[in-house]
């Protein structure tokens, strides 16, 4: 191996043991049905990590019998970059920057989870306005995140137009969030004690205009474009069914859990920020198939728009952050704080030893649990449906690998 192109392999930069044949777990799996008792040779198909429809660097090893999936295994870690380890070397107010890059399309909610955990340790009282600003940015971010899901889910079914419409509306939200926080994606807006800055002047009118348009024109348009499409409906209805029992057993949260008929939403069941004072509905599905997950997320966008309207109308006066020391040294202790992000319950399990760095920081990623449920529900489907099922659960590799 004297070829300079292979130096990287020799330098040990590239890992070993990547191409061993998959050892597939037994016991949990369904047995292959087969058609008329006909058995063909099983074939292991590799999807990813570079694949147009795996939503990031997910690698699925799918064992197929003809067209039918017999076994599926998710291989992850292609984006493992040590958020939990690095947090032990960051100060408490910098945890938000890491959380932003975990679930990178709904950054505000990740920051909020970290901030809530630190505040629990510090026992600091957050001003009412900060609560409202946190909820407002969270809901804006939720719509932006669901729009990314909506656009890419449509791409998985073979449609293209809805992606462009979703991106158009997402840009409108990113403009608002950029005006509020200063960045398009990595906001770093929510900090322990409150938020970084108050709303810029004149932004309420912008948000109102966006919500009016979104609720009355754009969202019905989105729903008609994709959900009203017969091809889309026939492709997603009845596939990827997650029963209520499976959903609870695999620890699903968020829209995936609610689509299976469990009415659990952190915003309603363990309210945080401004949610105790707000009115909203928690939509649930019936069968737990991909179509139900679609309906639940569309309804969530509607509810988010409703929340934004309430938040803008009732925005209280006052300071946007509590006074906290520059260097935070929370007393020793262990806490868990959770928020309802767009993918489910994003939790932060924080252990402090009294120093200025966390002793242990654990990020509970909702997508990780959705992903292991995928391994269970994908077998029995046709191979063409695999990307649809992955798309319908809206897994985010940034937070799975952390």
């Amino acid at each position: 191996m004297s070829d300079p192109r292979y130096e990287v392999y020799e330098a040990g930069l590239i890992g070993e043991g990547m191409h061993e044949p998959p050892v597939l777990p037994a016991g949990l799996r369904r047995s292959p049905s087969g058609v008329d008792g006909l058995r063909t040779e099983h074939l292991v198909v590799n999807m990813g990590p570079q694949h147009p429809s795996t939503h990031g660097v997910l690698r699925m090893l799918v064992e197929v019998d003809g067209e039918e999936v017999v076994n599926a295994e998710a291989s992850i870690g292609y984006l493992h970059r040590g958020i939990e380890k690095l947090a032990e070397h960051r100060r408490y107010d910098a945890l938000g920057t890491l959380m932003d890059r975990g679930d990178y399309v709904s950054g505000i909610m990740g920051e909020l989870a970290a901030a809530l955990a630190v505040e629990q340790l510090l026992e600091v009282e957050v001003p009412r306005k900060a609560h409202w600003l946190r909820s407002l940015t969270s809901e804006l971010n939720r719509i932006a995140s669901h729009l990314v899901w909506y656009g890419t889910f449509g791409l998985d079914t073979g449609a293209m137009g809805q992606f462009l419409y979703a991106m158009r509306d997402r840009e409108a939200i990113l403009d608002i969030l950029e005006a509020i926080s200063g960045q398009r994606m990595m906001f770093n807006y929510v900090r322990p004690g409150g938020v970084v800055r108050d709303l810029p002047p004149g932004i309420d009118a912008k948000i109102r205009a966006f919500v009016d348009g979104f609720e009355n024109v754009y969202l019905p348009e989105h729903d008609a474009l994709l959900g009203g499409n017969e091809i889309f409906q026939s492709r997603v209805k009845g596939i990827g069914v997650i029963t209520r029992e499976q959903a609870l057993a695999f620890g699903l949260t968020g829209p995936n859990l609610r689509a299976s008929g469990v009415r659990y939403d952190v915003r309603a069941n363990r309210p945080y920020a401004a949610y105790p004072e707000l009115e909203f509905e928690v939509p649930v599905g019936e069968t737990g198939d991909a179509w139900d997950r679609y309906l639940v997320r569309m309804e969530e966008m509607r509810q988010a728009a409703r929340l934004i309207r309430q938040l803008i109308d009732g925005m209280p006066e006052g300071p946007h952050a509590a006074k906290v020391p520059k260097v935070l040294r929370p007393p020793a202790g262990e806490v868990y704080a959770a928020v309802e992000s767009s993918r489910g319950e994003t939790g932060v399990h924080l252990v402090s030893d009294g120093s200025e760095h966390p002793y242990r920081f654990h990020y509970r990623a909702p997508s990780l649990f959705a992903l292991q449920a995928l391994e269970e529900i994908v077998p029995g489907h046709l191979i063409a449906d695999v990307v649809m099922i992955i798309g319908s659960t809206d897994v985010m590799m940034g937070e799975i690998d952390r």
Partner: protein
Amino acid sequence: MALDRLTGENSILFARSEQLFDYARSKSLWYLAFGIACCAIEGLMSASGPRFDFDRMGVFFRASPRQADVMIVAGTVNRKMAETVRRLYDQMPEPKWVVAMGACASTGGPFREYPNVVLGVDQIVPVDVYVPGCPPRPESVQYAFIQLQKKIAERAKERVDAARG
């Protein structure tokens, strides 16, 4: 049209083949749809969305490395991913270019302290353009493509000069 600008009033153009091919290449830089992390949302998704609309510059995505000219490394590359990045690069046909998008792909970014993270994708594949930012705005990626076009034009000139001797 662009060809008119080259040929003027006459409809005949004398050009060296290298020059002509490189001109065509610089106007149709197809990138590989290979989003690794956060930067992919900005550099690949927003970029192909309606506001930034890279398609109008002849820049759009290809799902297969065998049809792609440019690889935008958009995200943190770790030791498990490194082999895949190199494989995809090896699968792309010549000539090919690499854009290291964002702090992670350039140096390891905010994750450089983690021993599992590769300190910049230039340790694995040769990089032509680095784009700073975390994540860079889609405009920055547009600028990166303009720089890449300049680089290709320069290369064409060098090759013609070399042929002339």
